[in-house]
Amino acid sequence: MSLEQAIRGLVPSGSLVFVGGFGQCVPFAAGREIVRQGVTGLTLCRTGADILFDLLVAAGAAKEIVVGWFGNPGIGISHICRRALAEDRLRLRETSNFGLLLRLEAAAMGLPFLPTHVLAEGDLVPDGGRRSVVCPFTGLELTAVPALVPDVALVHAHRADPLGNVQSSGILGDTLAGARAARRIVVTVEKIVDPAEIRADPGSTILPAHLVSAVAEVPFGAWPSYVDGVYDRDDDYYRAFDRLSRDPAWVDNWVQDTRTGVAEVVAPARKAALVQAAHEPPHAA
């Protein structure tokens, strides 16, 4: 299935979308396709947002984010989201990363809520996003957080077979929690492989085919994030983005280049360097 086919129909305007990937395997190619297809009115969720959120907000695809953190990982605030919030083009519902994770885990287990020890103190989640509950066994007072059920989860991974059995490795973060919580899962992979290859190593499978609605092969589909052992994180891109995304004119051009496909053309030498860096042997402990 092509990426165009995988996104069309499965990510309709107005959906609640879980965006997978934690540092690694951020589904940038799927996000760029959403922009190309002119989808609007999305609500995006995950624990800590990556700069793919910036693209979807800047392009007008997303109107709301439900997060524990948003910005450019390790660098700082999202200039695009900050502007959109100030101009009332974006709604933010924030909690802590664990609070958001528990909302997804509740949905993944088919429960309406989960209790936790966090969020009872401090100023996070004021209105209705948390309730006090008493443990019926111990009498202990806890905080309940409501299930968050995404309409669709976007996941990028190493490989899958054409049926949708998906394999990955490396840092997954909250990706599987969000995928299990969602009503459907759309997957992009570096490589489509024969089912026999998957079944030769079932321990590496992270999502079974019956949960996956669509799978498309998109090499370098996580760039500028990374795929463990395939290509490294393009840290220079993230650093430059912090500087460039302060300028609304640059952002407009970037969105335009995404629509035309220019924005995802990585120079061959750059690609080769990122691939080589991913094969650096681990240091001695």
Partner: protein, 247 residues
Amino acid sequence: MQPDPATLAMAWHAAQDLADGEVAFVGIGAPGLAAMIARRLHAPGITMIFESGVIGADPDKPPLSTGSPSVARGAAMLGSMMDVFAALQKGIIDVGLLSGAEVDRFGNLNSTVIGHYDRPTVRLPGSGGAHDIAVLARRTVLLMPHEPKRFVQRVSYVTSPGHPGVGPRRPGPGRGAGPAALATPRALFRFDDGEMTLAAVAPGFTADQAVEGIPWVVRRRQTLASLPPLPALDGPAFHFMHKGGAE
């Protein structure tokens, strides 16, 4: 991106509160640096945990983000986010290292907004795992650059709660003891009775300089300790700073 000398000094001071064999929940920037330094000197058996699910991490250079390749490379285990937050809630993480845009005299941290929530003067990236670490870690160590505007009587938004303002935080089920120390490039503060108290001063600074610009009269211990001098930057403690390549 290599940390500046003041950041290294702050991390070095925070590292003084980390003991060998402890399990530490860390983040990016100075908090992670503190654990990396401790691991290379007095606490080789420290277990570093990142919110991305990485357990027993051993980054060979300061990582750019918690999900970066350098966090995963050479780690003992790549777990899920639930693995590490569940352990935190279970009460088995000895220490959490935290920073924020603002801190107050009771160790409350703000990393959400400066000013009014709906119309903030400065919007910040939000809690991430900071709130969870502040509540659940057995104790926390805070790191703050010596910038007086970051120290306020009361933070305008409590992202990560500290001590209650009337005595120390009482630990219990799902509730750690709160801030044990606050490190700056100039000093180490303790939270005696739940209030930030100057406890030790770095070489080259006086007690007055350690609290310079902080907008309340900072309590001082009767006897102030001296912090050990920063190790040589070209020595083993900071070997990781000279590595090239991806972060």
